[in-house]
């Protein structure tokens, strides 16, 4: 607990310095929501604003998506946890962000808690990535060693028979309301319009038919293959709690195995689905 307070203090101080020096136009971080357990994304634009910043175990929301609203050429600071920093790296690879526009306030955040379930999410999402892969200021002690593989949570689904797995996803995806919180919360889902909003072609029914929802999610899984950085925003944002992160994580694992590259780790990488290597083999089609 004290660790979070410590981080919060450093965050406020760092934000103030950056704003005071005029180094950044705004600091994208968290502020108080309607109570302590529900912090909200918050943009501090003045030194006085910086006093409103908070950081605690409920600050799970990956803020990187908000960067897409900032015009290029204006310097912005943003709080990034492990997975969030990977989102930044991935978006730089995709030429959606420019490194020179960003001041990254890295937080090695472990013990983060899902606001709805109260459970610690470290092993669930975040890809086992506690320390930011890229940051300018580190607001806290780096934490090393992970107890289990980030893919451990996939085990139960992997050992399931295919029919059970189908049933599992059928149950989950049929709950989908098509509120599109998953894509709107996802920092990688920057497409405007999304393929789902297209009328030519209409990839899936606009009405919430089961087949349309399956088409939406399978295609979205594909669009995020090799790009998902496992922040878990999609799943935590879902009002009906569909564990989308499991599917994304599975494909992240597959991409890592097949193409030897994890999403958002190095700025100089090229996203795996718009790349190939001469050494690629048909093994991947097996």
């Amino acid at each position: 607990m004290t660790a979070f307070k410590e981080i919060e203090k450093k965050l406020i101080q760092q934000a103030k310095e950056l704003l005071e020096r005029g180094e950044v136009a705004q600091v994208i971080a968290y502020g108080r929501g309607y109570d302590d357990q529900h912090p909200m994304p918050y943009v501090a634009k003045t030194v006085a604003d910086a006093d409103n910043l908070v950081f605690n175990e409920f600050c799970t929301f990956n803020l990187v998506g908000y960067l897409m609203r900032c015009p290029p050429g204006i310097k912005v600071a943003i709080v990034v946890k492990g997975a969030d920093s990977r989102a930044v790296v991935q978006l730089i690879q995709e030429a959606k962000l420019r490194r020179e526009d960003l001041v990254l306030l890295g937080i090695p955040a472990s013990g983060m808690v899902d606001q709805k379930t109260g459970k610690i999410i470290d092993a669930q999402t975040t890809g086992g990535q506690i320390n930011p892969v890229l940051c300018d200021y580190l607001l806290g002690e780096e934490k090393y060693g992970r107890t289990e593989s980030p893919y451990q949570v996939l085990k139960p689904l992997e050992v399931m028979g295919k029919d059970d797995r189908w049933q599992f996803w059928q149950n989950e995806l049929s709950r989908c309301l098509r509120c599109f919180a998953c894509r709107k919360a996802c920092p990688m889902c920057y497409c405007d319009p999304c393929f789902m909003d297209q009328s030519r072609p209409r990839w899936a029914d606009k009405s919430p038919t089961a087949e349309g929802s399956i088409m939406y999610h399978l295609t979205r899984f594909y669009h995020l293959a090799g790009r998902c950085i496992d922040c878990g925003n999609c799943s935590r944002s879902c009002p009906v709690d569909i564990p989308l992160y499991l599917f994304h994580k599975k494909l992240a694992q597959d991409c890592e195995e097949m193409f030897g590259q994890a999403a958002g780790m190095r700025i100089e990488d090229k996203p795996v689905m718009v790349d190939f290597r001469v050494e690629d083999t048909d093994e991947m089609l097996k």
């Binding site: 030429a95 920057y190 319009p193 999304c194 297209q198 072609p201 090229k270 689905m273 718009v274």
Partner: protein, 652 residues
Amino acid sequence: MSRIGVFVCHCGMNIAKTVRVNETVEFARDLPEVVVAEEYRFVCSTPGQELIFNDIKKYNLDRVIVAACSPLMHEKTFRKVSEAAGLNQYLVTIVNIREQCSWVTEDEDEATSKAKALINGAVYRARLLAPLSSRVIDVHPDVVVIGGGIAGIQAALEIAAVNRNVYLIERTPSIGGHMAQFDKTFPTLDCSACILTPKMDAVLQNPMIELLTYSEVAEVKGYVGNFDIKVKHKATCVNHKKCNGCQACVEKCPARGISEFDEGLNKRKAIYIPFAQAVPQKPVIDRESCTYFLKGKCRLCEKVCEQGAIDYDQEDTFREIKAGAIIVATGYDLMDTKPLVQYGYGKYPGVYHALEMERLFNSAGPTGGKVVMRDGSEPQSVAILHCIGSRDKNHHEYCSRVCCMYSLKFAHLLKEKTKGDVYQLYIDMRAGGKGYEEFYNRLLEEDVKFIRGKAACVTDRTKNPEEAGKLIVEVDDTLTGKFTRIPVDMVVLSPAMTARKDAKEMARLLNLSTDKNGFFLERHPKLAPLSTMTDGVFIAGTCQSPKDIPDTVAQATGAAAEALVVVMKEKMELEATTAFVNAAACCACQNCVKVCPYGAPFFNAEKNVAEINEALCKGCGLCAAACPTSAIITRHFTNDQIMAEMEGLMEF
């Protein structure tokens, strides 16, 4: 609502034997939007074509479906009929009920139901087809040839022969390339200069050829028919327009530089013409060795030049050239053998590489054609080592193709000039060209010692007095199975021919692909060996792969013909089935820009959308499937059309 006409062909009995045509036509007639369905014995025959023509008119059809043989057979035929009847050719759909239906089964039920499904798919798709037209562009009549070796020279001459303007761009001070360095050419042993010099002169004399030596390609824009090439002319410090080639400057120049042409075996002046027959006969100043540039005084050449052609302040200049086609003939580099320390090149003065040998044999070379080593002595024994860096998985897996033959040529010349012992250390003797095997047989009778085995190393560590002062070549003789030490005076390496060190840079400029060895990749290894993935850019000679002079010349002639096919037309039609970007749906992810092998999509940063240069587009659809927002529309293969066809195919 569309007005679709369906025409089902019997193809004699080819289709009708297994597909119940009548039933299929009945089925088609009943499909939504189909206004007429007909059958005919041979729809591709004149009466068959008339049937379609008349029905288009009679029923005012706006879509035509022909169920017959493969579209690869008669699509063009039926498109023509349609155009003739006033219906855009892209509104015709061919349903393959012969090659992929009637011919591959004997079961009538199976064949008939498949034929129906395929027709249904076409009906679903037809409604969504759009009329397309090819864009016609003007073609610039000129051709650019990059590289002034034998390939470039040959290509330029061929093109000029039909009165087309050619720009021949060469980066050294003279054209001629590697061939100009050679003494004799195998297997005929005719003098290289004797056959090359007239061609070089022809280039100079030909008014259709503009020679741009000491020049490099800096930038290429545009596309087939309309390339814009920016050429950098490096500063020569000599105004070639004023220079009359008297060479008084060369004579008086006190400074010396290393002769590139003589492979460093000799010195040349700081102001120089690389070799006697060089074209053009105009000197350049090498600033690295010029006294004036090094020390700030001298200017002797300026003083002796009656033309006032010397211009020390000259700077690199740039020039824009327009052309309809480009031929790339940038040649090869000889592999640098220094890193192969086991062969001692650079360590032992007695070790030479093949191009150095060429210069040693050449009567215009550093030794006046005498085989004299760096220490001034004549070798009493010479070992020629094949496959240095070629056929070697650690370096270059490929065979360099010419080494066996020039090594034999060297052996012959050594025998002629030195009377010493000559050893050939080879892995296999490859003599696949015209007259090559005969040449090999001739050498077998010339007292050359052939040892089948790849040399392991060259050393000066002697083991007995007989080896004293010699270089020892160690080799496993694979015929005798014995490990052999051969003491010789001189070792000649036959290194791999490699891609130019800056081939990748050239590839980037022209959007070419390179193979795993760095050579330029041809569009198809068999059927389009001179074309590249970039339309209007052709390759010839050793920039494509190692090859000998006859093959190089043949390729150059072929590339010239290919280039002429492009520029002889005043106008050209661009592919109609290209892709374009629906800007409203573009999410600016630039996936299309990243994946396109032709560089057709580009990012318009101002509008924050991708755009496609349709002149470069080949319509493969790679970008369309990479586009997450379906903003890219591949004409004639749109998402809508493909998915509709799938729906039709799966309905029944």
